[in-house]
Amino acid sequence: MSDQKPVVTNPVPFRGGGFSPKPMKIVAPILFVIVIAIWESGSRLGWISPIVLPAPSEALTAFLDLVNSGQLTLHLKASLQRLVIGWTAGTLLGVTFGVAAGLFTMARGGIVPFVAAIFPIPKIALLPLFIIWFGIGEESKVATILFGTFFPTVITVYGGIDNVDRGLIRMGQSFNLNWWSIVWKIILPGALPAILSGFRISASIAIILLVAAEMIGAEYGIGAYVLLAGNLMAMDQLVAGVAMLSVLGLTVSWIIGRAEKYFLRWRV
């Protein structure tokens, strides 16, 4: 050791940690409150024209009117039912086709270009076709949501499967696990992070498509409510309806967040 200069003693610099964001419950509420406060005061001070964007308080009044009219539950029930059925069916089909595309050369050759070709077709352009194929009852509405969910699910599932460590699959084969076991116990859990992330997308798309779905002969539903508000230029109702869609999205996101926490607890 040098004795010319004084010996410096420091703790070893800490270089680790970080890169693992924790969910922080408090930020979002604060943010929402701030946005709403700015918006409300903007409206009151006249910066925001009331014709296109009513104050949040007006939207709240519209919402309370809806609650008092007793129609909220009808709208919610109708939309939730379509969402749940359409999303579930689309997801099941999507996972099935995604797994097929992730595992079989033939299936991939067919499914990937097919998805690439059909996914970009706007559902709205096809409404007339949907009416002819599925009628104007619940079927066409569910089908709209189903299609919207199906395609992104296929893409995330086969993308996730591509990313599963092949070494683990070889291990499964070496223990003579049957094909189903390998898919169910190795490939799907390995692809689960990607699949759950895909669910966030497909659920949001399903909610967006409520509006398109309920264009066709829907009496009740949040989408129908939003559409009608738009048609009648009732901007307060429009904002109230859009806010309901947002809350729906938040709820779904929260559920998926819980699912991630539970199913992916094996990750660091």
């Binding site: 683990l168 070496s174 696990l177 076991s181 116990k185 190795i186 390995g190 094996w266």
Partner: protein, 265 residues
């Protein structure tokens, strides 16, 4: 401590018939020809990257060589759940299953669940000194503990032939000793078949009936050293074993020197 009782004695030879292989123009193995007789432990040693893991994958049917074949002579016993069982060099544990889950994974397919599975799992965990860690996830384990889980998993399926790729490399000398002793004791009782890749020459001479020495890449058979002393008597012949070990050492040294010269040309 009860001895291992899962391994199954067999009458099943493995015959490696002139195996050669190349990955994208890199020749890895060349004309490998030897036989793993039923009830024999064959050790494979050779320089890093000479193709030992590759060879093991061929033997277990996980990959196919470009030319040559591995023949199974005789039939695997019925009692064995998975006749040819690997212990992988990189452990290959499922990160989303606990230690117990990783073992039950390979039992479930044979309809072994619940109590039956628990009994087997408890036993193999005890053997590998992991009883406290049954519910830990792989990310919570040290390197050596992961390797022991891989060993426990392999033992749980009553293999007829164990294909082991440096199964003790991450373990401390004592744990290693204990597991070596277990393997020897077990062989004495059960006469299982095994193909054992190792870098530890001492392990090779203590465990192997045959030691296959591979040359540097492309791996050719440099020599097959037979060790005639019965496993049960080896402790008494430590001098002889040391001689064999020195002999292997010299063989390997020559290989290394040849490689060095090639490099420096």
């Amino acid at each position: 401590m009860p001895p291992f009782f899962y391994l199954v004695a067999v009458f099943m030879d493995l015959h490696l018939n002139n195996i050669s292989h190349a990955y994208d123009n890199i020749e890895v193995l060349s004309e490998i020809y030897f036989r793993i007789e039923a009830g024999q432990i064959v050790c494979i040693i050779g320089p890093s990257g000479c193709g030992k893991s590759t060879l093991l994958r061929f033997i277990g049917g996980l990959e196919r060589p470009n030319s040559g074949e591995v023949l199974l002579i005789g039939e695997p016993p019925k009692e064995s759940l998975n006749p040819l069982t690997y212990i992988f060099q990189d452990f290959a544990l499922l990160p989303w299953r606990t230690v117990r889950g990783n073992i039950s994974l390979v039992l479930e397919d044979h309809g072994i669940r619940g109590k039956g599975a628990n009994a087997i799992i408890d036993d193999v965990l005890a053997r590998t000194k992991l009883s406290d860690f049954g519910d830990a996830l792989p990310r919570q384990l040290s390197g050596g503990m992961k390797q022991r889980v891989a060993i426990a998993r392999a033992l749980s399926v009553r293999p007829a032939c164990l294909l082991m790729d440096e199964p003790l490399s991450a373990l401390d000398s004592q744990t290693r000793e204990l597991l070596m002793d277990d393997l020897i004791e077990l062989w004495i009782r059960e006469k299982y078949t095994a193909c054992y890749v190792t870098h530890n020459l001492n392990e090779a001479v203590r465990l192997g009936h045959k030691v296959v020495v591979l040359s540097r890449r492309p791996g050719k058979i440099r020599e097959i050293v037979e060790i005639d002393i019965p496993l049960e008597e080896r402790q008494e012949h430590s001098g002889l074993l040391q001689e064999k070990q020195n002999y292997l050492w010299d063989l390997m040294r020559e290989e290394a020197m040849a490689a060095d010269q090639e490099l420096n040309q």
